[in-house]
Amino acid sequence: MTYGYTGKIARIHLTTKEISTIDTARYEEFGGGYGIGAAIFWDLAVAPGEWDLKDPYDPRHVLPIMTGPLAATGVPGAGRTSVCGISPETFPTCEFWRANFGGRFATMMKLAGWDGVVIEGRADKPVWINIINDQIKIEDAKELWGLDTWATQDRILSMVGGRTRYGEEWQRIGDAYSTGLPQIVCIGPVGEAKSRLAALIQGSGVSARIGGYGAVFGAKNLKAISVTGTGSVQLADPKSMMDARLWQMEHGGLVTGSFAPASAGSASCNPCLRADRRRNSYYGGETMCVDQFWLDNPEKQELGATLSARASAERDLASKALMRYGASGWATHFLGLFVSDIPGAPEFFNKKVPVETGIGWYIRYLYRIGELGPGKRIDSSPLPMDQWDSLGFRLAFLDAVSNRVGIGEDLAEGCLRAAEKWGRLEKDLESGALRFPAWGATGHWTLPSVEWAYNYLLGAGDPSWHGLVTAVGAPAEGESLENKLRELSRKTIPYTDDIFMFNYAWKGDEAWKTGIYSPHKAKEVAWSRHYASFWNESMAFCEMFLPTLETLTPEIEMKYYAAVTGKKDSFADTLRVGRKIWTLERSIRVMHGRSRKKEVFAPFMYKPGASGMTFWGGVPIYENGTWRSDEAPDMYLDRKGVEDFKTHYYALEGWDRENGWPTRKTLENFGLKKVADVMEKKGRLGA
């Protein structure tokens, strides 16, 4: 018996209406979640060679929506749903990328008996998919098309649920009964408009914000997927699973303090549901910070300031509108926090650089410099630019994008595509007014957390992975930074006992010798990808929950993994699978055109003002024979240094130096001979 997995994946072709089944066992070697999703994408979209993988709206686009084997097992925080495919959001090209979301969709999918669903084709009219245990129907979505995400879910709930309101009574489903509601992932008007800003929304505010996959749903005429399940997931060792939970609680790993992710205790995953009565926030706490603060203007208020009742209500309404329209809080970001003074920051940032800026901030910048506005070269109609930081402006913004009205037509294509159309792309990427470090993704902790920046570059945008940022932060008072890093290095299997991989020295010889352009740094970046590929993206653990490198990693991961799956793998084995997944992901990108010369940061990253801020006491820097924690506000990158880093990194991963393409030896080492054969046929195999 296979434990953890349900054993089957639904394959739903919207063009032919054919519904078939994939045996999960064929893909178990890729772990689960994103790993299996990428492998299925390879088999169905890449290997046949019938599609050039360029246009995410092509009906040949295959969209795997996957769960991990630890979902719906009682393991906390492991219930995320993974989506992968060609991303409409990335720029300048649509890259193979991924997103994931929390909530209970993955949990219910498993209870319905499915490890995931794979969406193919394009429906000739709007449809939604109704999954009730082993029954799958493609339903007419005529009456749902045009509804916002909440109304869509409400309507489906009433259709699936029948007369009795859920929560008041058990529902009969086949031979079983459940108090659980159907879990629905859907798009709103922004997705229907095939805007690259579209998210997938589940519940009130759980969303897949990265990648613009809501637009892929829109292109496929797919409004929603609803899942209801009443089945069981088999556990190899249920007693050990529950003992592991208690062990984690007793060792402080299930936190209950404020601002701690409640996913730590979730059998499903509610990623930003905060503890200590903070359920009383933001519609059940399902939205995350970037959505909750979508209306905020940190230029006007202090971090943590108490809002008036009216301001608080308006903030809530803005967040609610964002979710109902089905827009990504990341892709539509207005303005992040300003905290640190950054030497060399452009004047328009007034010395301080925000943690994030996005399309919302950018249009105001253009308005302030007189480029954009009513009757200007870039006509801002119908947006009331003089009311930029108001709730009304946010609503007008969403309305313009979802109806592609006026400037909304340009904005719907995403910030960099709009800037390109307006003739400002190169200039504003150079100045940093377009603060998008790579692949058109909104900036987020890229510097001085340089491993995060490299992950942007080697992937296709924001990795949204915090695994190392606290672990390399300043030590507790009285503790030695060097000792802390030495302890950390014992956990980064297989790259152990090399503390220089945590060296963020960025100036002078040390940067090349042991710092951010050295072979040591390549190990840190590789480890972060291998860990995240397996544990966060495939075992589907919330990345705010695990790893906990300063405490319970890797013991807690292995306890849960063994208890649920019964597999005898070592932690090193799991990281090898992570590397295999990362190598396959790389191969897919290579097949649609990725190469070394395309992996460059936006120009502002190579200039003073590129750095941002850290919350964790800075990054470790080794210079002149000593270690120190340094917030490195003056950090920026060197073009040759980044190229040298890429050379080291490609060598470490077994990719060729010239193009960054995986070699046959590397692929076959991971049992990916069939991938190597396809790549060779296409002339994309590393030399």
Binding site: G74, L111, E168, L181, L235, R277
Partner: protein
């Protein structure tokens, strides 16, 4: 109303009419109302078969404002009793208005077996499967060997959703036993013990108490379990 607000006058036995006077909720909607031929109809609250029962010495109370809705309790309940993960088999049901369009604190409904002072599930069981377990602190339990799957206990439960749970695999009823018989749970359950749901709750929204809460409405069970604020914050 705090769980300690137990009526001394109730002493150890309470008649069914006491429950009725307390304003118990009407019978469930009856989605499981398929009876078994030949089995007597369940005793109605107005019935004549007045009977008293020794009170349970264990009750689970909860704080619906503290609960995260994470369902940990549901998963460990099914794992503890059956060795599988299945919320539909859980004897505790946490219903979250899933899209969470309903705002706090009404977004979560906690359905916890009340170990009723006057257990209608026990009273209406035609075979004695649902009984008061005198060997284990008078907890109201269902003996699966005696259960014939007539669902009388489910029909009789005055709570919504009903607390006895139908197991479609065995075609028998089950109910919360405070983990007295939980073969996959490594700790001791029962009164004074560590039921899986209580011990595993990360938000500490469940608590095992020994005295019967007020039976009048949910206030005796849905109590304030907020941990004390630390004397000084770090």
């Amino acid at each position: 109303m705090a769980e300690g607000e137990n009526s001394e006058s109730r002493k150890n036995t309470v008649r069914r009419r006491d429950f009725l006077r307390g304003g118990g909720i009407a019978l469930a909607a009856g989605t499981l109302g398929v009876g078994v031929s030949g089995v007597p109809a369940p005793a109605s609250p107005q019935g004549e078969r007045a009977q008293s029962y020794p009170e349970s010495t264990g009750y689970i109370v909860y704080d619906s404002k503290l609960c995260w809705g994470c369902q940990s309790c549901m998963f460990v309940c099914s794992a503890a009793h059956y060795g599988v993960a299945n919320p539909a088999l859980s004897r505790i049901q946490i219903v979250r208005d899933a899209p969470s369009f309903t705002k706090y604190p009404l977004d979560i409904v906690m359905s916890v077996c009340r170990q009723c002072v006057t257990p209608l599930c026990v009273e209406n069981c035609p075979t004695g499967a649902a009984h008061v377990d005198a060997e284990n602190g008078n907890v109201r339990v269902i003996d699966p060997k005696q259960c014939i799957g007539c669902r009388r206990c489910i029909q009789s439960c005055p709570q919504r959703p009903h607390r006895p749970v139908w197991n479609p695999d065995t075609r028998k009823s089950t109910k919360c036993d405070l983990c007295i018989d939980a073969p996959y749970w490594s700790r001791k359950g029962g009164p004074g013990g560590e039921p899986a749901c209580v011990t595993s709750c990360p938000s500490k929204a469940l608590k095992l108490v020994s005295k019967a809460p007020s039976q009048e409405d949910i206030a005796g069970y849905d109590v304030d379990l907020t941990p004390a604020e630390p004397a000084s914050k770090p």
